[in-house]
Amino acid sequence: MWLRQLKRYFRSKARIFGSIGQPLLFLVALGFGFGPTFAKAGEGDYIQFLTPGIITMSILFTALFSGIEIIWDRQFGFLKETLVAPVSRFEIVIGKTLGGATVAVFQGLIIAIAAMFIGFKPQDIWTLPLALLIMMLIAILFAALGTAIASVLDDMQGFQLIMNFLVMPLFFLSGALFPLDESPGFIQVIAMINPLSYGVDALRGVFLGVTHFGYTTDLLVLGILTAVVWSIGSYLFSRIEV
């Protein structure tokens, strides 16, 4: 299951470029565009600040879409093959989620490496394992969320809806692009409800050593949410009828 996900990923070259291209564009355009203003405002190096946000964004996109891939599997009939196999639904969800999450983390890493070329410097290379763990948590959370959504929707029509009303708000209102500390109160409140904020914050904490919510909160929220969403996703998936 897990292997299939990876094979599919590496086999579609267009997808790799497409999905790495966008975050890189964000990174370069926003990073260099806002950089000077950011520095003038006394906030320091914007690329440093932005990179963890963009890494999180690429993980969010990739993981969520990997979950939604179930809709495609259903469309092309492959889902049935999996559903009649003597494997419990729970195992299928775990396999799928981990597969999608691995791809997402891999993508996040590529972004991280690319960012280093344009001036991103992580504070300490030894924090990398912790960064990976956080990335994996974020990835599993959203792959599971995608799975849950895909289990309920049975066509691609609802897909645009998700893009506009879920993915974009999650990303823009997460503190990925701007510091939460000084943003207006209502943005801070929204960001507090937004699970992605904690992912961005934790990752920024690892790379730069500063957090908004604090490490423990970040990891606790991420961990608990991941567990909850994963169970809901598995439950919904187990209810699928073809």
């Binding site: 299939r4 094979k7 579609s12 092309f76 009939g77 492959f78 093959e81 559903l83 066509d155 073809v242």
Partner: protein, 275 residues
Amino acid sequence: MLQTIPKKCSMMECMENIIEVKNLTKKFKDLVAVDDVSFGVKKGEIFAFLGPNGAGKSTTIKMMTTVMRPTSGEIKINGFRPETEAHQVRKSFGIVFQDSSLDDKLTAYENLKYHGILYGVPRADLKPRIEKMLKFVDLWKRRKDVVKKYSGGMKRRLEVARGLLHHPEIFFLDEPTLGLDPQTRNYIWKYIKNLNQEKNITIFFTTHYMEEVEQMADRVAIIDHGKIIISGTVKELLEQTGKETLEQAFIELTGRDIREEDASAVDQMRNQMRH
């Protein structure tokens, strides 16, 4: 090589039904798709399920293969109940779906390997078995091709190979020859017949082609509006209806109306993709 065709089953085995369906009903909101259906299929038998579009054939198969929950009624597949013993039921059968269910981004070999792993075929057995099955359906030379490049007939053959990889007791085929040319149809049926005779695998299939039923099936059930109208051997059906061909009997029993089936969400999506 001269070989006597092995007897299909011993007396004892012939007595037991490997598929047992009792009072099966499935309701969707206001529609009764399958209405109090009962039938049995003996071990080693080739059983045909005939009916117009939307008669409830696929729904019945879905319930037997654990992907849909029945509203009421009882099913036993190889002695196990799909609702409570899904695992054992799933191990007992192989299936070829109405429409392709291959992963077209993987190669033929990878598709089979994935299936083998899911079904818990021992690692050591997996390679030789895949090789044997691919040779059996004449696709060994193309094993490294991505399925996307395959023709419709090749995909079907690959699906047959895949459905048999884990040595099932029962083989479900939901309109296996739909949209295939006569050559490929013959080819596939030759395999299936062979398999049935050599390995004593029970075959349960649905089709619209009457000649396939006349040539292949030991017994037939005709289903319409969710109910089984008649069942028995082809000969019995002809005698009961007083017709000369199965096609005439079929039309007599199910009427001449053309059935309309709502396009499923999936079909709608496919149509959109074509544009």
